[in-house]
């Protein structure tokens, strides 16, 4: 009677897996809401630390570890997602990560004596968010929408999806961050218009231009730089502070992880205060020595001017690709913590000739939008629809290493193209297809995506075989390839070797290895769920005490109920969900008569109010 039966569809959560911070949100009836962690903080720092016993620490707790145990702690792992070692060699000079020896096409990071791929590290963050959501919602969370920078390539998107899988989440959709932000602003209320979304995050920069009409958000063009963000600004400040220390103390601290991380934290504080103060101070303590430096906003702006300017080129190109002029842009939305910097806001205002929207917290807006998209997918949000594009052209390598483009950038996804392949020599039984992503003429200048091997072609004279290959970029922006023998019409097998990613088998093996953790998580979710149910029934009984039905119970019956309540309370804080469920049952049994009484009272009072 007191247990409210409801069909459990399972909430689909929206996750912003950020470079600096990650958040999880959900659709709370009609509006999206961010779910805070156990510490009450809505932002979960994207920092992961491995404790001495191999335990995983995520978020604020790990941030402290970054200073105490930099060798076992990693931050900004998003910058490594979907990359090979060669892609990030320069960058690694500034990051204190230890890269394992066997890193090649997929980076492996050493944390203590263990090694992890970037998707595994990201999965730890996702697992934490999943746990936070389960505790708040009181139900297992297994489905999610995860956001990615719009300019992420195929490998980076796949790595993100792999991370979700490893965390035990079914990733229903990858959504581009700027597009999600546009959804969060609920700009559909203005019916029609052109919107620019400027997203300067911790590690990536995106610009998207959308056309809004009758609830449809159609992305016209997107551009960006996956290696440009607040981290770069921090590194500028860090560098001058390190130079100061070198000349003042005669010490090079740049190789001491603990010192660098402490100093990084201190320069970030100064950077953040410069957004609302004309002058800030870097204060740094190290082994009893004190360093202090005053930074005026003017100096800071001189320091980051070129970083801000680097964002404007992609903005202009994006407008050109979208076929719009600055005058046609009705609204500008700002996303990412770095857009709090007054110089960034100023530059955006000048470029687009419009005052940017800053009403929503730039740190939360992407997660809120992800929750709206989750609502669209689960049917709770109606009328809105996102039509996104692929940021990069897809091509195949042809003779002489030249790229033949088959799907152009800024094509609405899902998008597809079919190409026909044949053999070049007599009796040839396989054809290798090299797929790349990028705008350059030569394959070597583009991003290698994967090699597809069309095998088991029946031997025949050169040029006779005809294999039709279909390339489909799905709604997640991820490439799917299928092949068909045009002569027989039969499906043809395609063997995929990703250039910078994990194979399906590798992800599966990692997932299996992580199942132990998953069981613990499930347990925690079940406990949370049982407690929510206990709360529900206890609350209902509390209300019933004020009802006439309560006084109609025999003393013995009331005693039984009180006893059952005490029993439930005694197990409430244990981690045994079976025990909690059992006590809920006992309490339910004891309230049968009460429930009946209440029903009768309700019926009689309803009759009293009825005019016959």
């Amino acid at each position: 009677m007191f247990q409210i039966e409801f069909e459990n569809q399972g909430t689909v959560v929206g996750i912003d897996l950020g470079t600096t911070n990650s958040l999880v949100a959900y659709m709370n009836v009609t509006a999206p809401d961010v779910i805070p962690g156990e510490d009450g903080d809505k932002l979960v720092p994207s920092v992961v630390s491995v404790g001495p016993g191999g335990e995983i620490i995520v978020g604020n707790a790990a941030r402290q570890e970054l200073i105490d145990h930099p060798d076992r702690t990693i931050y900004s792992v998003k910058r490594l997602m979907g990359h090979g070692i060669a892609d990030v060699r320069d960058e690694l000079k500034l990051f204190p990560f230890q890269i394992a020896e066997d890193s090649e096409s997929v980076i492996r990071v050493k944390l203590g004596d263990k090694t992890f791929t970037p998707p595994e590290v990201s999965a730890f963050i996702l697992r934490q968010l999943k746990k936070n959501a389960e505790a708040a919602l009181g139900e297992p969370v297994t489905k999610a929408v995860i956001t990615v920078p719009a300019y992420f390539n195929d490998a980076q998107r796949q790595a993100t999806r792999d991370a979700g899988r490893l965390a035990g989440l079914e990733v229903l959709r990858l959504v581009n961050e700027p597009t999600a932000a546009a959804l969060a602003y609920g700009l559909d209320k203005r019916q029609e218009g052109i919107i620019a979304v400027y997203d300067l995050g911790g590690g990536t920069f995106d610009i998207s231009i959308l056309k809004l009409q009758e609830g449809i958000f159609e992305v016209l063009a997107t551009n960006g730089d996956t290696h440009l963000g607040g981290d770069d600004i921090d590194n500028r400040l860090l560098r001058i502070a390190l130079e100061d220390l070198q000349s003042e103390w005669g010490e090079d601290l740049s190789h001491i992880g603990e010192a660098v991380q402490t100093l990084r934290r201190d320069v970030i504080r100064a950077k953040e205060s410069l957004s609302f103060l004309p002058v800030a101070h870097i204060e740094f303590e190290w082994h009893g020595k004190h360093y202090h430096r005053e930074i005026a906003r003017e100096l800071f702006e001189g320091l980051i001017k070129d970083i801000v300017e680097r964002t404007l080129g992609p903005c202009r190109n994006c407008m050109k690709d979208a076929g719009v002029t600055p005058e046609q842009i009705d609204e500008v939305v700002m996303v990412g913590g770095s857009t709090r910097i007054p110089m960034v806001r100023g530059a955006v205002e000048v470029l687009f000739r419009a005052k940017p929207h800053t009403e929503l917290n730039p740190d939360e807006v992407v997660a809120l939008g992800a929750a709206v998209q989750a609502g669209i997918l689960s049917g709770t949000v109606e009328n809105q629809l996102l039509l996104d594009v692929t940021p990069l052209s897809l091509g195949i390598e042809i003779y002489g290493g030249v790229v033949s483009k088959i799907i152009h950038r800024n094509s609405t996804i899902p998008a597809s193209a079919s190409e026909s392949f044949t053999t070049g020599v007599d009796g040839q039984t396989n054809v290798l297809i090299h797929v790349v992503q990028g705008e350059r003429e030569l394959a070597k200048d583009c991003r290698s995506l994967a090699r597809f091997d069309l095998k088991d072609i029946p031997p025949m004279p050169a040029g006779m075989a005809r294999i039709e290959v279909r390339f489909l970029i799905d709604a997640n922006g991820i490439l799917n390839v299928t092949a068909r023998d045009a002569r027989t019409g039969k499906e043809h097998s395609v063997d995929v070797t990703p250039s910078h990613g994990l194979t399906l088998e590798q992800v599966e093996a990692m997932y299996q290895a992580s199942i132990d953790h998953a069981e613990e998580d499930l347990e925690a979710a079940q406990v949370a769920q049982a407690r929510v149910e206990a709360d529900r029934i206890l609350l209902a009984i509390d209300k019933a005490r004020r009802n006439d039905a309560w006084s109609g119970l025999a003393t013995e019956e009331r005693r039984q109920i009180e006893d059952a309540i005490r029993q439930l309370q005694s197990v409430y804080h244990t981690d045994d969900h079976h025990a909690i469920a059992a006590k809920i049952d006992v309490l339910n049994q004891s309230t049968h008569h009460l429930a009946e009484n209440m029903m009768n009272t309700a019926v009689s009072s309803a009759l009293k109010g009825t005019k016959i």
Binding site: L172, R173, Q213, E214, I216, Q373, I376, L377, S378, G379, L385, L386, L387, S411, T412, I413, P414, A415, S416, A417, S418, R440, E441, D445, L472, D474, A475
Partner: protein, 172 residues
């Protein structure tokens, strides 16, 4: 190609298209097929939505652009488009192409710029001719018109390639 793009939009095989109307049809069909609106269905149904939307998007991309639309219609009508080799310089362009090649060889920026402008003006001229042909085909349905149209398209493609060649950003 499983379905004809014109039929997909429930439009007649015409070269002149009202773009506002096309967009309206595109949005309506997106609301019917988009995978986001079929996310709670079974795996085969979701795959079908993905497939239908991919074709819808490809069709919209093709039909909203007059040049692509013309090329598509020509192929539907059995003409070969773009297969013709672009290595042979059309005689009337010999002089201009020679000038561009010289300018490129000398990396003479102002000369390249001037050549580009000339080609861009030519392309605009052809675009006007192409659009004029559209009305002609829609009313007359004359295969001669299509042959003329193919000539224009090939010439346009040749000029576009020249402009692209002059505009390569990573040219040393």
């Amino acid at each position: 190609m499983t379905r004809n793009y014109f039929e997909f939009f429930d439009l007649p095989h015409r070269l002149e298209i009202d773009l506002k109307d096309l967009e309206k049809r595109f949005y309506a069909l997106s609301r019917r097929h988009h995978p986001d609106l079929h996310a709670r269905k079974s795996a085969p149904e979701r795959a079908e939505a993905e497939e239908a939307t991919a074709i819808l998007n490809d069709a919209y991309r093709t039909l909203r652009d007059p040049i692509q639309r013309a090329g598509y219609l020509l192929r539907l009508e059995g003409f070969d488009v773009g297969e013709q080799t672009t290595k042979d310089v059309p005689p009337e362009l010999l002089e201009e192409v020679f000038e561009l090649n010289m300018a490129l060889e000398d990396a003479d920026a102002p000369q390249i710029e001037a050549a580009c402008q000339k080609f861009e003006a030519m392309r605009e001229e052809i675009d006007t001719l192409i659009e004029q042909t559209f009305a002609c085909w829609d009313t007359g349905r004359d295969r001669e018109t299509l042959a003329t149209l193919r000539g224009f398209l090939n010439r346009r493609k040749y000029i576009s390639n020249l402009i692209a060649k002059a505009n390569v950003p990573d040219r040393v």
